[in-house]
Amino acid sequence: MTRALWILWKREVGAILHSPIAWVLLTCMSLINGFSFSQCVAYLGQGVKEFTVMQIYFYIFHFWFLLIILVPILTMRLFSEEYKTGTIEMLLTAPVRDGDVILSKFFGVLFFYLLLWIPSLLGLAIFQVVTHQAVPVAWIPLGFSYLMVTLVGMLYLSIGLFASVLTRNQAVAAMISFTMIALLFFAGFLSYLVRDPGWRDALSYIFTLEQMRSFSAGQFDSRPVVLYLSGTAFFLILTRQVMAGRRLKG
């Protein structure tokens, strides 16, 4: 990590933590997470034996709905605001590389994104206390699950960052990233419908829900790791290109 990146990252995190939106999000996330988690527990209480609580938690609708909504809200202001208020000019006339600026925003928002998932871990901790640790924590599936949350988050956040550099209007940025992320997420479901085996393979390769299911069951697969990391890199590079292009326009 370069020195400039570290300084920029600190300011990004500071800006996020100083915005009311961050605390509203954290509160709402905790509420929905808690609600969703108690539903999962209730589901187990009906005698379901074949899944762990975390497997259900990461599979149910609440989780994905939250993820798809959350990312555009987190990323919409990253560049849009800088372009709108003109601070981008101040930022890019300091001796820093464009790449540092982009990475600092990416890692800054990733940091906060990961913070947002802490309440879900708290749910698990409470679950352990309440059940007097009758159910052992399956650490490996749990670790894999959060790895997947991180990987998917990285890709979605990079898409959000890309959408944000396209426009100075935050609402437009949010809508663009929401559309892209939603299409990407729901495209996986098409693998149930298409007949052509080639298409089915291709679509299941990006079927996030299924990937999450296998990860939370403790089955590691390197293909999604490659997919999400390369996808993230792709959108970060695209962001840089757009940023350079915007300068040409003035």
């Binding site: 400039a4 300011r11 915005s19 003109g86 300091a94």
Partner: protein
């Protein structure tokens, strides 16, 4: 300090800067003058490495653009138009962040920030949130930001825009003070500003340089100014006699009040007619109650150079 050759900037919609060449020497305070939309900001943005030029050569603070952009950016202090700042940060915190970003070492940062806070008159508001500051103070924060890494060259884009007269005055004093040991290029469309703080002006219009000279030389370019007199005399006679003076090119009657009549007497370019007119009035024994020379102002130069 700044060397620009044949600089061009073309947008999809047209040309903002059409092949300009100029230079600024070390230690100069130069005004970059032009009507709104003349290409001032675009040029400055190219000088700071923010915009890539379409064509031309730029050398700023001993480094070439766009190749050595990072080096240039580290050596110059730039205050963009409208002074964009992060509103949620505190003044001191912001300056520390900017200083560190511009490679002021950890050991030096407190000293540098303290210095520019003092220099820009911000010590009292150092703990305030930028968003809560008045426009005048925000402008000062922008200047402090441009100064925090002790750059050899300051580029200020319309530094006094939007300030009230008091703030403008104190801001100009500040710039004047800074110009003593630094090179400054500042853009403006307010002429009195250039007259007050700069020794040289570059006048730009429609993306081209119309003039680049010291203020004194620029003023010589327009007619040496007209003389306004008000005398008690027969209007027809007075006008005839004034017109007869050899160096006078034009006499215009401005006003009549009772027996008093006032004229604007214009001299031929470069001539001083004060002596002759005074001699005439004394010979004719016209009672005189006004005798005033309109000094050629930068404004006249500006209007003459930038009109269509």
């Amino acid at each position: 300090m700044i060397q620009v050759e044949n600089l061009m900037k073309r947008y999809a919609g047209g040309e903002a800067v059409r092949g300009i060449t100029f230079s600024v020497e070390k230690g100069e305070v130069v005004g970059f003058l032009g009507p709104n939309g003349a290409g001032k900001s675009t040029t400055m943005r190219m000088l700071t490495g923010y915009l890539p030029p379409t064509d031309g050569r730029i050398e700023v603070a001993g480094a070439k653009l766009p190749k050595e952009s990072l080096l240039v950016r580290q050596r110059i202090g730039y205050m963009p138009e409208n002074v964009p700042l992060y509103p949620e940060m505190r003044v001191e915190e912001f300056l520390e962040y900017r200083g560190r970003l511009k490679r002021v070492s950890r050991g030096e940062i407190t000293h540098r920030v303290g210095l520019v806070l003092d220099q820009c008159g911000l010590t009292d508001v150092r703990g305030k949130i930028i968003g809560s500051l008045s426009k005048g103070f925000r402008q000062r924060v922008g200047l402090a930001d441009a100064l925090v890494h002790n750059p050899m060259l300051l580029i200020l884009d319309e530094p006094t825009a939007g300030l009230d007269p008091h703030q403008i005055r104190s801001f100009r004093e500040l710039i004047k003070e800074l110009g003593k040991d630094r090179t400054i290029l500042l853009s403006t469309h307010i002429l009195s500003e250039v007259e007050m703080v700069c020794r040289r002006a570059i006048i730009i219009n429609k993306g081209k340089i119309e003039a680049s000279d010291t203020l004194a030389n620029l003023e010589k370019r327009v007619q040496a100014g007209a003389l306004q007199i008000e005398v008690k005399a027969d209007p027809a006679v007075a006008k005839e006699k004034l017109t007869k003076i050899a160096e006078v090119s034009l006499v215009t009657e401005l006003n009549r009040a009772g027996d008093w009549v006032s004229y604007e007497v214009t001299a031929a370019p470069g001539k001083d007619i004060r002596g002759e007119v005074d001699g005439l009035i004394k010979r004719e024994q016209w009672p005189l109650r006004e005798f005033r020379r309109e000094k050629a102002r930068l404004e006249d130069v500006f209007v003459e150079l930038t009109q269509d």
